[in-house]
């Protein structure tokens, strides 16, 4: 069986009937398998059920498209996700390699004052990125303005970008520390940077899907 492409199955802007008749948010291969009124909403005579039906009737009658009531912020979602990706990757590096594995240390004996100052500034910027990204993403979800598909893409792009930056600028140009103090350092450096490239590639693939409206998650 050939899977239907998602953009054929679910239009990007759902019509207002689609909001209430069950295609909204369905897996693409299940669209059309159910009866048109498979999602009648809550039934019964309770307060919430009757309020829900009254509201749906109101919007159907007035022709308000509920999917367009909230503006989706693509750029802000992308920014928040990239900042979160950078911050989380920096935290993983700090916790995993500095604290748990102890492959490199708090300061090395041959660090200069300037290199340490740049290290302190970079560390602060990573922490601030994590905090701002978290606050922004929380707010976008609170107000329902997050754009589907851009979260994962931005997160992986941020992670991969930071990994590559750490491997090239911190380890090689500034010389703050190496990945591990062993003889075959080249293998470690290659693994470090290739992992960053792999994350970037997956993030770019997700970004292209999101731009085409084929994001893996439509919510």
């Amino acid at each position: 069986m050939i899977l239907q492409r998602q953009e054929d199955a679910v239009p990007r802007k759902e019509s207002r009937e689609a909001m209430f008749t069950g295609t909204h948010g369905r897996m693409p291969w299940r669209v059309g398998k159910e009866s048109p009124r498979s999602n009648p909403g809550p039934s019964g005579r309770g307060f919430f059920a009757s309020a829900w039906r009254r509201e749906v009737k109101t919007y159907l009658h007035e022709g308000i498209d509920m999917s367009e009531r909230v503006q989706r912020r693509t750029g802000a979602t992308m920014l928040a996700a990239v900042l979160l990706g950078i911050g989380i990757m920096a935290a993983l590096d700090e916790i995993g390699f500095h604290q748990v594995l102890a492959w490199h240390h708090f300061v090395e004996t041959d660090n200069s004052a300037l290199a340490l100052a740049s290290d302190g500034l970079l560390h602060t910027l990573e922490l601030v990125m994590l905090v701002i990204g978290g606050a922004l993403m929380l707010r976008l979800h609170e107000t329902g303005q997050h754009a589907p598909g851009y979260r994962g893409a931005g997160f992986l792009l941020g992670m991969g970008g930071f990994q590559l930056f750490d491997g090239i600028v911190d380890h090689k140009i500034l010389g703050l520390h190496q990945v591990r103090y062993v003889d075959n350092l080249l293998v470690y450096d290659l693994c470090w940077n290739l992992a960053g490239l792999l994350l970037l590639a997956i993030g770019y693939w997700l970004l292209r899907r999101a731009r085409r409206g084929e994001a893996l998650s439509q919510r």
Binding site: F20, M66, N111, L116, G120, L121, L125, R139, G144
Partner: protein
């Protein structure tokens, strides 16, 4: 009984009285703020008690832990409990205008500017650790007492200048406050790395300096990150509003 116990015990009691009075008059004030204020005041009293001060005098790690609680964590709690807002709820309305006039005075505005607060905070620390002031402090009890008051007051001033919830007219913009916060965080991190690498203060054994500096680096960034989050939340709340009528519409 030390001055810290008297002052912060009295402040905590005053806050609790104001909280109870506001509640009795039907203008509620959240319980978590009361808990935050009393907890922070008690934390300062605890770290300034004689056994903890003895530890701080003998051991650099102890000094760093005391500094961390009294200069960063507890002041953040004191300021975020919004004591001025609670006080203004309990006094006649014209006191509010008096407060605003007081805060608008040029010397107070200069003192409460983020740049001044950061200079007092980070500059004081740099002077203490990078020069010989630290050994002078260990040999002079009066100077040590003054310095501990400086830690607490400068910490409160910094938290208030960056993200204080109390009413203050004509505050510097969010960009200024965020910039000053980032620069002072970077200065804090850099200072701790320098101390570990170049052995400052020199009168303390090197292993104590290195462990104290790591404590300063890793534990010191938690209250700083919290402060940054509170400031970032103010920004995103004003930038991304709730869409009108969006609540309760989504089925």
């Amino acid at each position: 009984m030390s001055g810290f116990t008297l002052v912060f015990g009295a402040l905590a009691a005053l806050y609790a009285w104001g909280w109870w009075r506001a509640k009795r008059r039907g203008r509620g004030w959240p319980l978590w703020r009361l808990a935050l204020f009393v907890g922070s005041a008690l934390a300062i009293v605890a770290v300034m008690s004689p056994p903890s001060m003895q530890w701080a005098h003998d051991d650099f790690r102890g000094h760093m832990a005391v500094h961390l609680v009294a200069g960063m964590i507890a002041p953040l709690g004191l300021v975020m409990a919004a004591p001025v807002s609670l006080a203004l709820k309990n006094v006649p309305a014209h006191w509010g205008r008096r407060w605003v006039r007081f805060v608008s005075l040029p010397p107070i505005r200069v003192l409460g500017h983020p740049v001044t607060a950061a200079l007092l905070n980070i500059g004081g620390m740099m002077a203490l650790y990078l020069t010989d002031l630290y050994s002078a402090m260990r040999h002079s009890p009066g100077f040590a007492l003054w310095l501990h008051w400086h830690f607490v007051v400068a910490g409160c001033l910094f938290s208030w200048a960056i993200a204080g919830p109390d009413p203050a007219p004509r505050r510097p913009s969010l960009e200024w406050r965020f910039g000053v916060l980032v620069v002072s965080m970077a200065a804090h991190a850099t200072l701790s790395k320098w101390m570990a690498r170049f052995h400052f203060p020199a009168s303390v054994p090197l292993d104590q300096v290195q462990q104290g500096a790591e404590l300063m680096f890793y534990a010191g960034e938690l209250p700083e990150a919290l402060l940054a989050y509170l400031l970032a939340r103010q920004w995103v709340r004003s930038r991304y509003r709730e869409p009108a009528g969006a609540r309760g519409v989504t089925p």
